[in-house]
Symmetry: C2
Subunit: 299 residues, 2 copies
Amino acid sequence: MSVLVVGSMALDSVETPFGKRDDILGGSATYFSLSARFFARVSLVAVVGQDFPRKHIKLLENHDINIEGLKVETGKTFRWGGKYGYDLNVANTIYTHLNVFETFSPEIPSSYKDIKYVFLANIDPDLQQKVLSQMRNPKLVACDTMNYWIENKRKPLLDLIKSVDILFLNDGEARELTGELNLLKAISWIFKRGPKMVVIKKGEHGSIFATKDFTFCIPAFPIEDIYDPTGAGDTFAGGFLGCLNKYNKITEGTLRKAVAYGTIMASFAVESFGPERLLKLTNKEVESRYRDFQRLTRF
Amino acid sequence: MSVLVVGSMALDSVETPFGKRDDILGGSATYFSLSARFFARVSLVAVVGQDFPRKHIKLLENHDINIEGLKVETGKTFRWGGKYGYDLNVANTIYTHLNVFETFSPEIPSSYKDIKYVFLANIDPDLQQKVLSQMRNPKLVACDTMNYWIENKRKPLLDLIKSVDILFLNDGEARELTGELNLLKAISWIFKRGPKMVVIKKGEHGSIFATKDFTFCIPAFPIEDIYDPTGAGDTFAGGFLGCLNKYNKITEGTLRKAVAYGTIMASFAVESFGPERLLKLTNKEVESRYRDFQRLTRF
């Protein structure tokens, strides 16, 4: 049992009202993996440059993440610089240096091709499609995207989601993609384009998960000290897909659990800069916060 | 068993992206009453002018609201004009004509003075204090306020909340009152100033309820067609206090239920202009949506 993630690995420089870090480990595949590993074996596909610190690669290995699909290419690693103001829901990108990511063309190792749970993190929809075409018979395909692809690669994105089971979006992206302000209407719009399930992430306001059969609304787990929201969405996706992979059963019950685990994994991610908190996290803390979360929302 | 509300009755002119209405029945005491009446007998204190349509007064009576405390004064009724853009969380005030409300000095009929559940809707904190001083031995006092009083009557407001059990605020007001961006920290700040409970309303993003013993986070009940958010907060408060009054017991269980009922009452209020939907609402619809809401949030 394994979950495949194809996405970015990066060196991030992040500034929030609570501090600043330079060239720390980042990227969608990183956050996803460090979250999903609590529930399932993770197999990663990504690319880094020769400048990527060996210790980060070691660290993934030490956390039992399968890095057979990680390529080290000539050139520099993808770098992102971002700044958050007091509204931590809004990231202001200072720079994006694609570097080796610019020519990234994901190749799926043959040992990965039978993996049943697939997460296509936020990359060019053409590349997401290319990944999908290499998989033999996935059981559940989820994908994330962003405003850039919605604006510049709308047609490939709409083609891709025809074959995707679960679409992950934040609220702004859902509105932009569908032209619907109301999120329930945005979800109906998406259901007509392929996906059977939609996750709309609203940052500190929680998320809405919907299938054609039921809708599930969940608040965020409230945190007193949010240091850095970078990676929260991918961490959510990691908890979500990892949890489904663990149960290996797509039912209303496992889907609700998966959303709740995704939510609490994201709440850990934001408690420190980069993936620091995820790296120190224990299973016991995860389970304890899950129980707290049930109490926090029950009526 | 009865709930007292002291607040405004108004004639509102409202424009939203979905339509426009002029001089419709509005005001905090109106919304509160039309919501709380599903759970408890409501006794209202408010003032209107001679221009206030008789039919509105009849309507309150027909809905079994005790209007002994409603005064009809010489002059015009309080009028509010507001406009909402696509972000229905933000009301833009076009005008506020206080009219008879300017000299409003609430007097509590003696038949009201033993009422145990008291809601001080958003009016001048000096007047809220004046109401409170007339009550004999209330069991639970809740109050609402707004940015205007936070900015212009901070001292009287802080004096007032020393004797208030539950403070209702929206997220922006909580941040403004406390100087804390994080809502959990804002709640801790408030606990040090008197209230034992806090409700932070986040509009379409639900609310956070906290006592010193537990925190409860709840999403909004999602609605496809929101026509007019005016009055949602007072409708929430009406469902909340009405429910507590019905159970006449302040426990963790009844408080959670009260927050959930407040939330669904607010979801009805926004489904039409003014209080139209609340006027047509049945107990059966309330109970049915409550069950839907449990399913919507359970994991």
